[in-house]
Symmetry: C2
Subunit: 427 residues, 2 copies
Amino acid sequence: MIERVAILSTGDEITTGKVVDTNANYIADKFVETGMDVAAVVTVGDVAERIVWAWQQAMQQADVIVSTGGIGPTADDLTTELVAKVAGVELTFSEEVAENIRRLFASFNRTMPENNLKQAQFPAGAEIIPNHLGTAPGYRLDLDTPNGKKHLIVLPGVPREMKPMIEETVLPWVREKRGGGEVFLTRTFQTFGISESGLDEMVAGVISADEGNLAFRANFPQISMRIIVRGKPGEAEQRLDTLSDRIRDKIGTYVYGEGDVTMEDVVGQLLKEQGKTLSLAEACSGGLVGHRVSNVPGSSAYFQGAVTAYSDSAKTQLLGVQPATLQLHGAVSEEVVREMATGVRERLGADIGVSMTGIAGPDGATEEKPVGTACIALAMDGTLVSRQYKLWGNREWIKTLISQLALDWVRRALLGIPINEAGFIRR
Amino acid sequence: MIERVAILSTGDEITTGKVVDTNANYIADKFVETGMDVAAVVTVGDVAERIVWAWQQAMQQADVIVSTGGIGPTADDLTTELVAKVAGVELTFSEEVAENIRRLFASFNRTMPENNLKQAQFPAGAEIIPNHLGTAPGYRLDLDTPNGKKHLIVLPGVPREMKPMIEETVLPWVREKRGGGEVFLTRTFQTFGISESGLDEMVAGVISADEGNLAFRANFPQISMRIIVRGKPGEAEQRLDTLSDRIRDKIGTYVYGEGDVTMEDVVGQLLKEQGKTLSLAEACSGGLVGHRVSNVPGSSAYFQGAVTAYSDSAKTQLLGVQPATLQLHGAVSEEVVREMATGVRERLGADIGVSMTGIAGPDGATEEKPVGTACIALAMDGTLVSRQYKLWGNREWIKTLISQLALDWVRRALLGIPINEAGFIRR
């Protein structure tokens, strides 16, 4: 059974600091999910002796080596040639892959430069890993060495091409090799409105060690929670469903979605399903909430518009906030934010009006209202809710928290669940 | 003279894919700037034998080894102990550093946990690298080995602490070691509105190889251009100024700032200096321009507010766009965007009104107006300018480009230079 993986990244663009190597992080995350141990991550530039050194070291440290980069068509793409050398095998030419590359170029109405044929060369005995999004396929080479079985996996460095190859071909192979017939399955919940330790407390004891594992990952402003189970196909799926139900029973309203979903995706989906429209009145968030809402393709179906009323005159002029309310309570008050919500909803003829004001800092604080004071209001179906928060962090952090809170209010309002009372008290 | 550097990162959080290692990228970038060659980047988890292996390998590959992580106070922080072991020296205790740590805790009104004294231990002979933002100082250990002189540099893994330590202590030492009395100096220009190859062409031949080097770095939506010179102190500064003037002569209006500055910083500074106020009317950008403007601390001094008129009714209701103009020319037209700019400026009583509409995709395109069609208008001092663009890319890309263009229009208007006519044609 395979146990340890080493991750290699090749490319001058990484060693000269031009790009951050996110491939290694992606691959580590995926392999850890299968229960593998990441022994080392090694990065070298496009220099033959350094690439050879990296492969030799990796093969000492691990039984699976996953490499990205260095399999393009140009002279500085050295990986395949050097892998064959390190493995002690010949290079062979795949007429089938060559034909595929030619076809791909033809489909773009371009003639294939001759050096692209380099990408049809493979170490003898390698198993091709298909690449549906680029010209260079990857491959896996299984070797018997004095040091045990070694599995060399070579992939392109372009994340867009590499990721599906990992998902579709590499991970199924890893799971098979790892499992002895067993599978690893995971499900991720996105949560908001409660701290990692708060979540941890709520789910304590819900899953026993032999049923599965729970992993948290803070990805501000949300915290994701992943359930990992291992077992026979069928049985494992069922167990994952059971555990998911148990977790949802405990933390249900804090879960806003499953998988790689954002709060604005979820809110957009709910608005679309319920045929409702949204309007926003922002202040210190500066437009961030509208920016997030409009990041979702098709949002024009439900997003009517927003007013960012940074100045007091904008609040009165564009939203109909009463000057007396501003004077009496100040811009960052529940009174003002309530008038903003009803004002924007009326003016834009929307079903929902959400508004937020706050002091994002570093300026603007008073003794009574320190940096992080924020107010949110939501008007919908004849009801009007508001609340004041004490948030913390720097300007960017506070803006992000306010935008996430406002979107979570819309989600909760549409689902008919109470607006969250927990968390977000100054630590 | 030192030539080659190896970069080590230690931490389970990296090898398990929980965080992306951005430290290695930062360090590589800074060292490449000094002319050093990055031989390898190696990452291992918090496992003693792997850390030892990584140090041994690094010392074979390079004469300077820079390590981040593993010098915290807890049991899994193994770096210092293992560096002493690899170097074959004893651990010594610094009473001075211990005192500093105690003082730091006292200043937070907290008692120091005993295990923090671990951070006052160093390999014998190590030179302390001060850390002004945390409890763990770093250090440099110079060794004579059969394999030549080796310099082991150990730093904390927290980027906020590590970066100033690199800037203030490590880089000056590197430059001295590299320079033989010579210094490396750099200056970075941030540019927008022209492609990398376009810039490259404009500055071709302006700097000769013995005067200095130019390095480009695309960091969408801007491209930065760095001048690197090497020479005797004084003379090098003068040469850098001369070369900077020559470069500015060639590409002047495309340069919006020097150093790590954003377009919204520059626009904010200009508005503040000239005592002018800004209002925005957004559509497909959804609030992104306002979000960026309001990211600058103190922006409430000049940012009046914004209207994000996603729907047609929002455009007429909140900005006074004539329904006939919308019907005749469509929402994405110079006619509509001009009415939006004057409308928002009037309603918010601002000196400048800027507006933008566009089709960010994937929906909403027509044969006449494909995805990427965008219009911008700017009203100021009785003048009204507008233009239609054909942009490209996905939804996020187009929104970002529109926001950058709009801010660049404000910059150019405030500086009295023509609004950019180059670039941004569909490729």
